[in-house]
C-alpha cells in the first residue's frame, strides 16, 4: 500500500512531467511557427524548465504546495520580464530594477516558515530549535533535505551517510532529533568537500580502481 508521502511524490512526479511536456511544446511550437516570437519561447522555456527541474527537489509538505507554486510562477514571470527587457534597449533598466529584487525576494522566500524572517524570531531552517512539533509533514521535509544533501556527495559515500543518518535518527529520542538533523546538515558541506577530494585522489591514482 502506498503511504501519503509516496502518493505525494508520485503526484509531484506527474506534475513535473506534465510541466516539462507543456513547456517543451510551447517552446517547440513557437520556435517552429512564430519566428518573430522566438525570444518569448526561449525565455519562458528556459525559466520554466529551470523552475520545474528545481521544484522537483524542493522540500514540500502539503501546506507548502501553494507557496511552491507561487515561487515557480514568480520565477517564470520575473525571468520573462528581465530577459524581455534585454530586447528593448531604452527600457532595460526597468526589468533590472524591478525584476532582480523580486527574483531575490521570491527565491529567499522559499526558506521562510511560519511568518518569521530568516534568522529572526522563531528562526527558520537550520537556525530554528527543535522542529519536532510539525508532525509527519515536517519529518518528511527534513528527510528530503538530508536526501538532497546526500546527492551532493559521491555516490557510495552519500548513500552511506544517508543510511547512517537514517539509522541514528530512528533511534534517537524525538527531543534531540531536530538538533541531530541540524548537526548533520551543518557538517555536510565540509563532508562533501572531504569526500570529493578523496574521490578525486582515488580517481587520479594509477592502476585498477577500487570502489569507494
Amino acid at each position: 500500500m502506498m503511504s501519503g508521502i509516496d502518493r505525494e511524490e508520485q503526484r509531484k512526479k506527474h506534475a513535473r512531467f506534465g510541466g516539462f511536456i507543456a513547456l517543451s511544446a510551447v517552446v517547440a511550437v513557437t520556435v517552429l511557427l512564430r519566428p518573430g516570437y522566438q525570444w518569448v519561447s526561449l525565455t519562458v522555456g528556459v525559466c520554466g524548465a529551470i523552475a520545474v527541474a528545481a521544484s522537483g527537489d524542493l522540500p514540500g509538505p502539503y501546506r507548502e504546495r501553494g507557496k511552491k507554486r507561487a515561487r515557480v510562477g514568480g520565477f517564470i514571470g520575473c525571468g520573462t520580464i528581465i530577459i524581455s527587457g534585454l530586447f528593448q534597449p531604452d527600457w532595460q533598466w526597468v526589468p533590472f530594477a524591478v525584476g532582480v529584487p523580486v527574483v531575490a525576494a521570491v527565491v529567499t522566500s522559499g526558506d521562510l516558515r511560519g511568518g518569521g524572517r530568516r534568522g529572526h524570531g522563531r528562526g527558520s531552517g537550520l537556525s530554528r530549535g527543535g522542529r519536532d512539533d510539525d508532525g509527519p509533514a515536517g519529518a518528511a521535509h527534513r528527510w528530503r533535505m538530508l536526501a538532497m544533501v546526500s546527492r551532493l556527495m559521491p555516490g557510495p559515500g552519500g548513500r552511506r551517510w544517508l543510511a547512517e543518518a537514517e539509522s541514528l535518527l530512528s533511534e534517537i529520542a524525538p527531543a534531540g532529533r531536530g538538533a541531530a538533523i541540524r548537526s548533520y546538515l551543518l557538517s555536510a558541506p565540509r563532508l562533501v568537500v572531504m569526500m570529493w577530494a578523496r574521490e578525486a585522489r582515488r580517481r587520479a591514482r594509477p592502476g585498477p580502481r577500487r570502489p569507494g
Partner: protein
C-alpha cells in the same frame, strides 16, 4: 594528510580507546562524547580513512528488528597504538608553550 587532533577528535578517540575491542555505533558514541551525531560522523570517517578505525554494517533483518541496521566502529590494532600515542602527544605541552612559561617565570 596527517590527522589533526582537535578537541572533538580527541573525545572520539578517547571514547574508542576506553575499550579498544568494543564495537560502538554512532548514537552510543555521541552520547558518550556529548558530540552531535553530525559532528562525530566526519571524525569517524577521517579516522577510518587514516586506518585507525574499521567499520561494518550490523547484520540484522531491519523488518524483524523494526529499526535500520547500525554502523559499528572499532579501533584497528594499529589504530589503537597510533591513537594512544597521538593522544599522549596531544596532552603533552609542546616546546613553545614550555619556553613561553619559562620566559614568564623569569620575568616575574
Amino acid at each position: 594528510m596527517a590527522l589533526r587532533l582537535t578537541v572533538q577528535v580527541q573525545l572520539v578517540v578517547q571514547a574508542l580507546l576506553r575499550d579498544p575491542a568494543r564495537e560502538i555505533y554512532g548514537l552510543e558514541l555521541s552520547e558518550e562524547t556529548g558530540l552531535q551525531p553530525g559532528t562525530a560522523y566526519p571524525i569517524l570517517l577521517r579516522l577510518e580513512h587514516e586506518g585507525w578505525v574499521a567499520s561494518r554494517w550490523e547484520d540484522i533483518d531491519p523488518r524483524a528488528e523494526k529499526r535500520p541496521a547500525r554502523r559499528y566502529y572499532r579501533l584497528t590494532a594499529g589504530g589503537a597504538v597510533q591513537a594512544g600515542a597521538a593522544l599522549a602527544a596531544a596532552r603533552r605541552p609542546n616546546g613553545m608553550a614550555l619556553r613561553r612559561l619559562a620566559g614568564e617565570s623569569c620575568t616575574a
